[in-house]
Amino acid sequence: MTEQGVYKDPTSGEYPEYLIDMLKELTMADGVSGDEKPVRDFIIDQIRDRVDSWHVDNMGNLIAFKKGTGLNRKVMLAAHMDEVGLLITGINENGLLKFKAVGGIETRALVGKRVRIGKERVPGVIGCKPIHLQDAAERKSPVKKSGLTIDIGAKDREQAEQSVAVGDTAAFAYDPVEFGEHKFMAKALDDRVGCVLLMELFKNRYPFDLYGCFTVQEEIGLKGAKAASFAVSPDTAIVLEGTTCYDLTGTSEHMMSTRLGDGPALTVMDRSVISDRGLYKFITQTAEEQGIPWQVKRTISGGTDAGRIQVSGTGVRVCTIAVPCRYIHTPVSVMDKRDFFHALKLAEATLAGLNNWLRETYQNQSGGESNV
């Protein structure tokens, strides 16, 4: 399976720690949509000896290539490097910074948080009016996003401008924490989990040509995936993601989306894509055969690069393997380490059997056509 050490069953409590360490480091790198460079540099460092070639395109997508040993088919794996964050949009007279959210962030997740801004990672905090000073009406009403500001401690605009500029991005400044039973908290699990999985999968060589696309700007509209899939023009693609999980007490079963600990989640349908039925079936069968726990995403919600990839060119067969993350798109997203390792196992097992599936599916012609 993997080069470093024996792969022990994660439910036994023993994990290949190096993967968790890798995830820690990768989540500590900052890469708000449009400013993915620190994440990309880290990944290039890790994979340069595992791939035949790699390049960075005009948008910043990192596209790595590993030639196949026989089967003339192109498989694309995608994970996005960008995370949700903030964009500094103005600097007030009093030195406070106005901002807008890059990607979907709920206002309630922003109040009372630490951020770091720009290349220099200037620290700042998002404050709000103390409860003592709020009148009755204010206490009952939600906070308005437009009223929030970042305070870097500057006394006026001039001082602030020495450290930050309009157009800088700010990421949540939260360090990863392992806690509870098998739990792991970090910002940007969406989608550093996918990136780590993809880096790991490059350790093997497969019969088919493998294009690993670490995409940009997913959180603001699946943009990087559009350019990457146009360039690669794959036959099949599997997207590795972090997905929503809201399995708290009181949530109806069908509204949870996914449950922590139930294994990697497969998507039949979300708002961006209906997974290729054949590929979905193949992946679930693989999971069953190998005894890998898995779950189906229970809500038809959200969107991923899979949607953008599917409709590129003459069409791509796609499916998504995702790690459930509670509190996704906040600084304190939480995953279960077992789900993460099972996702890796599932991805590895899928790729191991994929060439047979590809052969069957594309048996009639070349170039993506078949009698369905």
Partner: protein
């Protein structure tokens, strides 16, 4: 032609989004004196080429959409009044008591009226008027109206551009004819300075109805750099300060996730060096302009977005400053010509 007169002329052209076919030639005639060649494509994008003097010229694409919002006739009622729907983002609030031109079998003068205050009850006065309840009065009875007008005919607002203080002008279609005026000024500037690269100057279609023209332009031209020119919100009393820009303070350079970091940095550097007044427009989403198309087109095109502040956007009294048009054009042209110097200075992506 001076910018003032050029802008007046551009604003008088009727090119409702999706019906640019009637205006393409006029736009082409305006661009052609400054280009080596001009083409009108199957969708009525007008694409001019000014060749570069370099040995290995790259391709730069500068675009400004020339379509405007308007209305479309959806029915003629039994009294000859016309029902209508919007073409592009039209706010029903601006329609009351407006003069329009209905482009039927011939151009017809029309009026969208409102109920006189004497007949409006206090409750009604507070309610917004719905577009589907409004009618265009062309002064004809049903039979004649049906002869002259058919479902699908487009309607434009009648509001010739007027000059105001401070070098400002107001009228309909400043979104985006002010940018088209900037295109002409860019071409004029490029005639004065030496530039290595081929510059494709494109007046594009259907931005207001889905950024359509941009798809065609990027596919066929495949530039190394795309510069989109559009309008952004000018400063108004109740607009948020980080989403609106004072008139007369220069071109708004957009920064944000979909714009090329490298190029925006270099462009700001150039503006400083050349003392071209500029402002920074932080865009956290995809900007809602053609820049959104270019940045992820094909394998991705490095994109810049330069905007001219315009107050009262999508109304009949859109207002811009001629100074800002000048600043936009000067910055764009000089960036095209001199960017390599500045790109070397800055750190790369």
């Amino acid at each position: 032609m001076e910018c003032r007169e050029l802008l007046k002329k551009l604003c008088s052209i009727n090119a409702v989004t999706g019906r640019e076919d009637v205006a393409a030639q006029a736009i082409s005639d305006i661009l052609s004196p400054y280009c080596d060649e001009v083409k009108i494509d199957a969708f009525f994008n007008v694409i001019g080429l000014k060749k570069g003097q370099g040995e290995n010229p790259r391709n730069v694409l500068v675009t400004a959409h020339y379509d405007q919002i308007g209305l479309v006739v959806t029915g003629i009622d039994e009294n000859g009044f016309l029902r209508f729907s919007a073409m592009g983002g039209v706010d029903p609030k601006i329609l009351g008591a407006q003069e329009v031109t209905v482009h039927g079998r011939r151009d017809l003068h029309g009026v969208i009226g409102t109920k006189p205050p004497h007949l409006i009850s206090p409750e009604d006065a507070d309610k917004p008027v719905k577009l589907e309840d409004m009618r265009i009065d062309i002064g004809y009875g049903a039979e004649q109206a049906r002869e002259l007008v058919s479902v699908g005919d487009v309607v434009t607002f009648k509001f010739p551009a007027i000059e105001l203080k401070n070098n400002r002008m107001a009228g309909r279609s400043m979104d985006n004819r002010s940018s088209v005026a900037a295109l002409v000024e860019i071409l004029k500037e490029l005639k004065r300075i030496r530039h290595d690269d081929n510059v494709y100057v494109a007046a594009t279609v259907q931005e207001e109805s889905g950024l359509v023209g941009a798809f065609m332009a990027s596919w066929h031209i495949r530039p190394d750099l795309a510069i989109a020119i559009d309008v952004c919100h000018g400063d108004m009393p109740d607009a948020p300060s980080d989403e609106s820009f004072p008139l007369g303070k220069g071109v708004a350079i957009a920064v944000g996730p979909i714009l090329s970091r490298e190029h925006t940095r270099a462009c700001i550097g150039l503006a400083k060096r050349e003392r071209i007044p500029y402002q920074i427009d932080a865009e956290e989403k995809d900007t809602g302009t053609e820049a959104a198309v270019y940045s992820s087109a094909l394998e991705g095109i490095p994109t810049l977005l330069l905007s001219i502040p315009a107050k009262y956007m999508h109304t009949t009294v859109e207002m811009v400053s001629l100074d800002d048009i000048g600043a936009t054009a000067r910055l764009a042209a000089r960036y095209i010509a001199f960017r390599d110097e500045l790109l070397q200075e800055g750190d790369s992506q």
